[in-house]
């Protein structure tokens, strides 16, 4: 009997129309847990590094996390993995919602898609019955609309459907995969789905998920729930509202957007508007939000409410999550009403809420600076909001200039030339980042931005405060009930970290402490991503309900696998290193590992080099960021070392 997982994957070959149910090796669960870990293992084993993202040989893997579908609150993530057309590296975007648990109840841990269908199809997984069905009538339909149409034609209101919109069909490099109130948006994985001719995957499952040691397990789960209740009542003082309480940022619930609107950049990640947030704006935005927001909603088995149903006049109802509320608004220098409305259209098209507004703001900057001209933009309206809609429509259809912009700012700039490259200024590894521009280098964030494989800061950060607290008393109060730290010394790092003086950024935390802090933060994300745990109850937060001390027993009692803190940290490190190896094999090197040039005004090249050197060494990687033979051996990844050696990437000394 397999516990927590189902022990089966679905292998779908769309070229041949073949469907197979394949039993998985339990040993791999011990080594990689599941979710992201086993996704990465499959990608490494089966997709050679020369494979183009839009090749039939590229795999598109939908993996449910190891704990998805169990009673653990927040375990509902689907991890989607493939080679990204945008970064050309491994993409692993994740979505919450209800799809992963449903897949587990249907009896599968993953759906692995290979090949390409000659015509548009969708997949219907109903327990043991799996079919590839014609989707020609869904061509061009919105991602939300499609989910509803499929439920209706199958007469299965309880089916969970994940779908792409027009952007995915047209292989826009930042196309998302949408699902109810969630989406897997980063890295253009929706484009890969579209390239495969796959419009949607519908799932319905009515089977059991087993737990190995139920008594012990439920006790631990109940402790987690008690702590969630406690944390919801006891907000963390001294931090911004979205960090004070659990959840993926509670953007749908809160009205106070002072922090985002006055700290994040407007336009093409350009301008900080320190005086933006006034009483009038607050009043107007509050009214907008309350008039369009029907209900606050959650993902499967989670008490929080990070999403909302949005019904704005003139657009069809959709569900919104966290930050896309502000990205369009701020990129267009507009207001919340515009933000909600354009996000509705963007959700139907199925595009990433981070990249898309920036691509459009970038295009308008090029236009204002004469790099793009009226010839490139025939018939574009004169107002910014109108221009945003105009651009969005063209991008998802790949019409005219939209065809160029659909590849994202990095590739569009290369194609446009004439100095456009300078305007694609907010990228890491060819992908648009949050519009944040700051003063003094923060060493912890420097390393996270540079080396994070997800290429998305919110999926690396967490646990450790983003900035020092001003007074000693506040710091002491903070560390008092900070039991989530892996080791007491992390408290000391925080206690000693000051706003000014010797113990402040960029030289404090020290290089060594910085390495440890970053390692802790990313370790917790790697654990979540393997388990399918939402970062909003775990790795993203200060003092979360899930941490390095309760995860081992949770995993062990659920799965029956022996697990302690060292073993879990080792598994997380193994997954982290394997993903690094996937990317190294695709050509990623030290030169790629850097934040946007203008992310901080004050940069320290020498210190930054030292930080990278130290972190690479700490991780067991060489000067180029390539995992060493010895460190791979220690992680049972000798086959990776061998492969890298054969390719001459690891030099045989």
């Amino acid at each position: 009997m397999r516990y927590a997982e189902t022990g089966f994957n679905l292998e779908i070959d769309l070229s041949r129309g073949n469907i197979e149910r394949v039993e998985t090796d339990p040993k791999l669960t011990e080594l990689h847990l599941g979710g992201l870990g086993t996704n990465a293992k499959i990608l490494w084993d089966r997709v050679p590094p020369e494979t183009e993202p839009f090749s039939p040989d590229n795999l598109l893997i939908f993996g449910a996390g190891l704990l998805c579908g169990t009673p653990a609150p927040g375990a509902n993530r689907t991890i989607v993995t493939t080679y990204s057309p945008q970064t050309l590296l491994m993409a692993y975007s994740m979505m919450g919602g209800f799809w992963a648990p449903e897949l587990k109840y249907a009896g599968y841990d993953k759906v692995i898609i290979r090949g390409k269908s000659p015509r548009l199809v969708y997949l219907w997984i109903n327990n043991d019955k799996v079919e590839i069905r014609d989707a020609s009538h869904l061509q061009g339909k919105g991602a939300v609309e499609t989910q509803e149409m499929i439920r209706q034609e199958l007469k299965e209101p309880k089916a969970q459907v994940t779908a792409i919109g027009l952007a995915g069909e047209n292989r826009v490099y930042f196309a998302s995969i949408e699902q109810g109130r969630s989406s897997a948006s980063r890295g253009g994985i929706g484009a890969v789905m579209g390239d495969k001719g796959l419009k949607a995957i519908a799932v319905r499952g009515t089977k059991d998920i087993q737990i190995a040691r139920p008594d012990e397990w439920m006790k631990l789960v109940n402790e987690v729930i008690q702590y969630i209740k406690f944390r919801e009542k006891n907000l963390i003082p001294g931090v911004i509202p979205i960090l004070a309480r659990l959840g993926s940022p509670q953007e749908m619930a809160i009205h106070d957007e002072e922090w985002h609107t006055t700290n994040f950049m407007w336009g093409n990640a350009r301008q900080r508007r320190r005086d933006f947030w006034t009483k009038e704006v607050e009043q107007q935005w509050r009214e907008t939000q309350e008039s369009v927001r029907t209900r606050l909603i959650s993902c499967y088995n989670c008490p929080l409410k990070c999403g909302a149903t949005i019904s704005a006049p003139g657009i069809s109802t959709y569900m919104m999550k966290c930050f896309s509320k502000l990205t369009y608004t701020m990129a267009a220098y507009s207001d919340l009403d515009f933000g909600f409305k354009i996000a509705g259209r963007a959700t139907e098209y199925g595009v990433d809420g981070y990249s898309t507004p920036q691509v459009m703001a970038f295009a308008l900057e090029l236009y204002e600076n004469g790099i793009l001209t009226d010839e490139d933009m025939p018939g574009m309206p004169s107002d910014t909001e109108g221009r945003f809609y105009w651009l969005l429509d063209r991008i998802v259809r790949r019409e005219g200039i939209g065809d160029v912009l659909a590849n994202g700012t990095y590739w569009a700039a290369q194609q446009i030339g004439k100095g456009a490259e300078a305007y694609a200024h907010n990228n890491i590894k060819k992908q648009e980042q949050l519009p944040l521009k700051l003063g003094m280098l923060n060493p912890v964030y420097f390393l996270m931005y540079s080396t994070g494989e997800k290429i998305n800061i919110t999926q690396i950060e967490g646990q450790f405060p983003q900035a020092p607290f001003p007074t000693k008393e506040e710091r002491e109060a903070f560390v008092k009930d900070w039991f989530q730290v892996p080791d007491e010394r992390f408290k000391q790092y925080f206690l000693d970290w000051e706003l000014r003086g010797e113990n402040s950024n960029p030289y404090y935390p020290t290089v060594e402490a910085t390495c440890e802090i970053v390692d802790w933060q990313e370790r917790m994300h790697y654990i979540d991503d393997a388990l399918g745990m939402c970062a909003g109850l775990s790795s993203f937060h200060l003092k979360p309900p899930y941490h390095i001390h309760n995860f081992p027993a949770l995993i062990s009692s659920a799965t029956g696998i022996d697990m302690d803190e060292a073993g879990l940290s080792q598994a997380a490190k193994r997954n982290r290193t394997l993903i690094r190896a996937v990317n190294i094999r695709r050509g990623m090197r030290r030169a790629d590992e850097k934040p946007p040039e203008d992310h901080w005004k004050k940069r320290f090249p020498e210190l930054e080099a030292k930080l990278l050197d130290a972190y690479y060494a700490f991780k067991g990687w060489d000067h180029q960021g390539i995992p060493t033979k010895a460190s791979l051996h220690e992680l049972d990844l000798d086959y990776v070392a061998e492969d890298l050696e054969q390719r001459g990437i690891i030099k045989n000394e």
């Binding site: 998920i209 397990w217 008490p303």
Partner: protein, 181 residues
């Protein structure tokens, strides 16, 4: 029949507070697993969330009595401009729909208010609804004594309805023979 004191257990459902998480379904099925919590499967739950997000329909419904035939007609409610699907408010495990049936055997499910719980503990779905959409209330009332059907009996009754008494009796007889043999 004589009068007896009876504890009336009720759950107040505040649909406005429901966030659609389905934790109630999940935990009900886990609690009724054998051994307890050894598995879960919302399809076995005795509470079901009728959920149509785009229409803002969120309706937790408890499994009530087993009905051997469907109603002569079906009902459909519209409340505050929101239309609920046919039979949404009905609690019956009924031939007209999938709800409240064991997925493998098709046997009817019925909410038992978690009767196995130690006294004083609230039903599991209530405990696990952290949004306070489900509120447990208890009171005492004098009622006529009734004959209470056990779970097995309810299940058997539905089998009898489906296959006829004779067939069930034959099957039980055959099964007990082979078990003994």
């Amino acid at each position: 029949m004589s009068k007896v004191k009876k504890k009336i257990k009720s759950i107040k459902i505040d649909v406005d507070k429901c966030n659609g998480c389905r934790a109630c379904e999940m935990i009900c099925s886990a609690f009724h697993a054998n051994p307890k919590y050894s598995s879960n499967n919302p399809e076995r739950s005795r509470i079901r969330l009728i959920r149509e997000p785009l229409k803002d329909v969120y309706l937790p419904i408890y499994a009530g009595e087993y009905a051997k035939a469907e109603c002569m007609g079906r009902d459909k409610y519209v409340i505050d401009g929101k239309e609920y699907g046919e039979c949404s408010f009905c609690r019956a495990s009924c031939p007209s729909r999938d709800a409240f049936k064991e997925p493998d055997s098709g046997l009817p499910l019925k909410c038992d208010m978690c009767e196995d719980l130690p006294p004083g503990e609230k039903p599991l779905c209530v405990q696990r609804c952290l949004n306070d959409a489900l509120i447990y209330e208890e009171r005492e009332e004098e009622v006529e004594e009734e004959v209470k059907l056990e779970d097995v009996e309810t299940g058997l009754e539905s089998m009898v309805d489906k296959y006829g008494l004779q067939k069930i009796m034959d099957t039980v007889a055959r099964m007990s023979m082979s078990k003994k043999g």
